[in-house]
């Protein structure tokens, strides 16, 4: 007689507009807090905050303006971090994910400090998140990173939504 609770699939989260450097910090710390409220453990929540920080600072550096959208899919058991911006597309996403590279190849070490970054941001995203996807759309691009919830994580939200806890 267990009714299929449609609400469990409902996604909750937050959206953070990114334009300036301070928006990066706001998005990152708020995302970390949201992750904790989803029931994610402290260490994973901090890793998630780092990923948000890397993606958001990329928006400020290369994407002109955009937003970070955090959504929890309790049924699938994962949190998605979507980073959308209106900047130019990434030439080669696989290369861009390689440490010390931009989207076209290795960065000249002499230029490394002057460009205000290490070229390891997307590498960190790939290491810390469980899955990363790159997509281009009309007038912009989206990078999505997923964090798969471990057993026991995200339960608090399911409780609140009246869902079926194991």
């Amino acid at each position: 007689m267990v009714q299929e609770p449609r609400e469990t699939a409902v996604v909750r989260g937050g959206e953070f507009p990114i334009r300036k450097r301070s928006d990066v910090v706001v998005a990152s710390s708020q995302a970390g807090r949201l992750a904790r409220s989803f029931g994610i453990g402290p260490r994973r929540a901090k890793e998630l905050a780092i990923v948000v920080s890397e993606l958001a600072s990329n928006i400020v550096k290369h994407g002109v303006r955009g937003a970070i959208v955090l959504t929890l899919d309790a049924r699938r058991g994962e949190v998605a971090i979507e980073a959308r911006d209106v900047g130019p597309p990434i030439h080669d996403f696989e290369v861009a994910m390689t440490d010390g590279c931009d989207d076209r190849g290795p960065i000249d070490p002499a230029l490394l400090l002057r460009r205000g970054g290490l070229g390891t941001g997307l590498g960190a995203v790939a290491r810390l998140a469980d899955r990363v996807e790159y997509r281009e759309q009309e007038g912009g691009k989206t990078i999505t990173a997923w964090f798969v919830l471990n057993a026991g994580e995200g339960l608090r939200v399911r409780d609140q939504m009246g869902g079926d806890c194991p």
Binding site: R21, V26, S28, S29, R43, K46, I50, E54, L118, G119
Partner: protein
């Protein structure tokens, strides 16, 4: 019907009932239903004057009430906006706290860089630049990077962090990293970072104590050197 100065008005109980009902509508702010009831009777007698007066009163009350509601709604919107702004200010303050990595000169020639919040690759790069520049500008002999507040870092960022410590040494200053917690320790050993040339201590306090002890020894050595040089004169 009128007798010796007393005049009586004949009212059907139905009209009286609608006035009572109208009154009860008015008491719960149902002004439209109230007015409708009052205007139902078409008779023109003394009682209808009461009904008319009542209608006017109710209409005015209704207008005053909706004006009040409009003002309240406006006020509420303003309040909401204010709350939103306060929230923004709070978030920005948090952002400023985390963004700014202050470099404090805790002692003559000793710089301290307390790191809190989230350290990503860009922040790590920015910190390196600022620290190295400040060391040169202040002619510092020691830099203490305290990372007590950090327990998670990406491996590549942690690697860069240690490189920063080594760069400090190249500038002729000593770099102490204090407050490394188990999580970061595991990250560092996991990636096999070479820690030679980087001194690590448990806390900021230990780092300061070490500095003081070393300077004391230096002072004592200088004193005894001065004392020795004076001996032949005596």
């Amino acid at each position: 019907m009128a007798q010796s100065g007393e005049s009586h008005v004949k009212v059907t109980s139905e009209r009286l009932q609608s006035v009572i009902e109208a009154l009860s509508y008015a008491s719960v702010d149902e002004f439209d239903s109230c007015l409708e009831l009052l205007q139902r009777s078409t008779e023109k007698d003394e009682f209808s004057e009461l009904e008319t007066a009542f209608s006017i009163f109710v209409r005015e009350l209704g207008e005053a009430k909706s004006e009040l509601n409009r003002t309240l709604a406006k006020q509420e919107a303003i309040n909401r906006e204010l709350e939103g702004k306060l929230e923004t200010i709070e978030m920005q303050q948090a952002a400023i706290r985390e963004l700014s990595t202050p470099i404090i000169e805790v002692w003559a020639g000793v710089l301290c860089l307390p790191v809190v919040g989230v350290v990503d690759s860009q922040r790590s790069a920015e910190m390196t630049e600022t620290l190295l520049e400040t060391i040169v500008a202040k002619q510092a002999r020691m830099a203490i990077v305290d990372i007590t507040g950090i327990d998670v870092m990406d491996t590549k960022t942690a690697d860069h962090f240690i490189k920063m410590a080594r760069a400090v040494r190249l500038l002729g200053a000593e770099c102490i990293v204090s407050g490394i917690n188990p999580g970061i320790a595991q990250t560092l050993t996991h990636i096999g970072v070479d820690l030679t040339g980087v001194r690590t201590l448990r806390s900021l306090r230990d780092a300061l104590q070490l500095y003081l002890k070393e300077t004391e020894q230096l002072v004592v050595q200088q004193h005894s050197a001065v004392a020795r040089s004076r001996v032949p004169e005596v």
